[in-house]
Assembly symmetry: C2
Homo-oligomer: 457 residues x 2
């Protein structure tokens, strides 16, 4: 078998940093969501770009699939080894290589997690803001073009990756971008690899933009009588240009899950959780303006605090939302899906989704990064129950179709992986074929995370 | 001849919107800078995407070069028809197709200029901020990944183009991106076409992000004893996170040119021209903080004003800088070049460039969008004087090499065109070969703006 031949050769390079232990294969064959496990034939733990390059050369020679692995927290089955092969786990390549405080950038290895990066940056007065919730690896976050709660202020990985080192399918190592803040020098290869989900190359080094730790951070929460009131508050805030750092929506079902999980006493209504970053005067000004908008939409008194402990509690709640929701149905797994629409269509998109779920036999709390027009549904299903999974898939499909009809996208931040392939044609039409052409150009043997992102003839 | 056959066929489609008039060919064979004229064999003026698609199909069949044309204001000879062929002038495709005020986006045709767009947006309270100086077409600005004075606050075309319609070499029409504010749905084709200088496809429609017109705009100017003081003021301001809308550097030579051109009485010293956008309180706060930094670096009293006429006068001066500088040497043309470095290296880069020019026999005022680390030199040369042009080229080459040595890029915003091709290998190494592979993938006949951006075997 060609895969076996590749594994034997890689083993001779990496020694005991190639493993075929059942438990390791199983761990790397799972995802956080409902997908059926698909373990690789081996997992390798490279320590350097050169080792990654050697792995790729061997795998190209033997037509062996290669799947990149960060922390395994992606939600659409991105790292499942659906055609077997070798999973490249980047956990040993997790170093900060250079912090450039004056330029507010950092160069790191892909296995470093965002929380560890921020821990190491603490004394510099700088931080890396992109926050998808999970403590994901930064290589994985680049690969999936992750975003999360702070994208409304600081942008997504698309906006915050300045440069990459990438190992191509044939083992060549290239560098894209630079530490300059902008460039017109050629095609934007950095942008091409960010979000390519490991299908065009393996990221072995990243240079990221950093941001100044805000002088003052102020967080708050308020509730509304209806989804429309909450969402219209968001729209008005964005249109007024108030620079929110975070603005998160949770619906009544999510509030109920929070109450059960964390002992909070949130009213069973739609809520907004917000955060402002800036100078003391700036934050007070922004919070004041926001309070007025909340009042215009008959929201509850906006309660805000700049105390660290209050803030931590609020965002811990939000970050644990997935687990809180899962706990609301014992033994459940979930189909987690997201879409992103132009903000003027957000209320309609959320309300129609809410109605669609209400008419189904599944529960699915709605929450999201509404400042971007992005929201999520966590559709709880019993593991192995095909009828429930089919119902969840149908709901998710209609959500994607609705998003496209409203001028949006089938996924704002979760990516394609296995879960959204069937909607790529509807979103992109002929442009999806072009993506396939680019894939074939850069990976003619189709060994890089095969079966994801594109369909090849 | 194959070009002649293509022209005959296109003529049968476009009628008198294909012209071979000598004066039109000459106009489209020139650039704003020092490059030798290179007229096309015909200029066509399509009215629709379908016509552009027909043109491309004909040109593919006959292997006829196709060069896109907006307003001809690019600085590196992007639109010169160096292999003849057909120049596609987009001036008749200049309509605003849809303004989405609630979503703060607009869909337009590529021939629309940025000033005309902003004129049409005036009543909406929104504006399109990217401002390269020239009243360029928005299609051309996307093609060259333009930026300019406001990029420090609002980003470049990379950040402000949400979606495109593109006609490919074979005539296929694709759509990239969407009106959603973010997406993880597939490869970032929008980002691939932005900055591709017409070498991968012709842009026939753009959706752009808009921004709220600032409540208050405040502009000001101050001067410094040294380049280092001025640049270090910029670095400190950026590092403190003060949200400048514009921060422009002009050196003493540029100040002298302004005085001669516009009758100003600027001291013959390095200056910073700045602008703040925001609420009245926010702008006052920012200007106050900035004044303190200026004082720290012994700058002159920072004079600021929120009067429209003062502001207009200040930025008219900056926008006319190229013409003011050209007037300082009678009959001169110029080699205009730009680089962009990490901001910590900006003072060094500018000072070494200043010294290098001082040691040459040419004059070259320095000015730039220093908040991004981006600066320009206007090297004045006598048209047709090969020794002067060679000296200017050598200075520009050393500037590009210096930028790379400092971790920067060979061009922050002017692009590659004809002028920077020789430095692409040094900046990108093997990644430049990958750009060539992508070009061959999307334009196998090499008919799209051939001879620019990449070198094909």
């Amino acid at each position: 078998m060609t895969i076996e031949a590749a594994i034997a050769e890689i083993s001779s390079v990496l020694g005991d940093r190639l493993t075929r232990s059942k438990s390791v294969l199983e761990t790397h064959g799972q995802s956080e969501t409902h997908f059926a496990p698909a373990p690789p034939d081996a997992v390798v733990f490279p320590r350097s770009t050169d080792e990654v390059s050697q792995i790729m050369r061997i795998c190209t020679r033997h037509a062996c699939p290669v799947i990149p692995w960060g922390t395994g927290t992606s939600l659409e089955g991105h790292s499942l080894a659906i055609r077997g092969g070798v999973t490249v786990d980047f956990s040993l390549m997790n170093q900060v290589l250079a912090v450039n405080e004056a330029d507010m950038d950092v160069t790191i290895q892909p296995g470093l997690t965002r929380e560890e990066l921020n821990r190491q940056l603490r004394a510099t007065g700088l931080f890396f803001p992109v926050d998808p919730g999970a403590n994901a690896s930064l290589g994985g976050m680049a690969g999936t073009r992750a975003s999360g709660t702070t994208a409304v202020r600081y942008g997504t990985m698309r906006d915050n990756v300045m440069a990459l080192e990438v190992v191509l399918a044939d083992g060549r190592v290239i560098r894209t971008g630079s530490r300059a803040r902008k460039s017109s020098a050629g095609y934007d290869l950095t942008g091409l690899f960010v979000g390519s989900e490991g299908t065009l190359g393996l990221i072995t080094e990243l240079t990221l933009k950093l941001h100044g730790q805000p002088e003052v951070i102020s967080s708050g929460i308020c509730d509304f009588a209806s989804i429309a009131d909450a969402v219209n508050t968001v729209i008005a805030t964005i249109q007024m240009g108030i620079p929110l750092a975070r603005i998160e929506f949770v619906d009544a079902a999510t509030a109920a899950a929070f109450n059960a999980y964390a002992g909070t006493q949130m009213p069973l209504k739609p809520h907004l959780l917000v955060e402002f970053h800036g100078s003391a005067a700036g934050v007070a000004d922004q919070a004041g303006q926001f309070s007025e908008i909340v009042a215009d939409f008959d929201g509850s008194d906006f309660q805000w605090s700049d105390q660290t402990e209050d803030r931590r509690a609020l965002w811990a709640l939000r970050h644990n939302a997935y687990y809180a929701i899962l706990q609301s149905r014992k033994g459940a797994t979930a189909l987690v899906t997201d879409v992103c629409v132009p903000i003027s269509r957000l209320a309609q998109a959320v309300e129609e989704t809410r109605a669609d779920i209400a008419a189904s036999f599944l529960d699915g709390p709605i929450l999201g990064h509404v400042g971007d027009g992005n929201f999520h549904v966590v559709l709880m299903v019993k593991p192995g129950d095909e009828a429930e999974l089919a119902e969840a898939r149908a709901l998710a499909s209609r959500m994607a179709e609705r998003s496209l009809a409203l001028g949006g996208t089938i996924t704002g931040e979760h990516g394609i992986g296995m879960g959204k392939l069937d909607h790529m044609q509807a979103e992109h039409g002929e442009a999806w074929a072009i993506m396939g052409d680019l894939k074939q150009c850069l990976d003619p043997g189709n060994i890089l995370n095969p079966g994801k992102m594109v369909r090849l003839n």
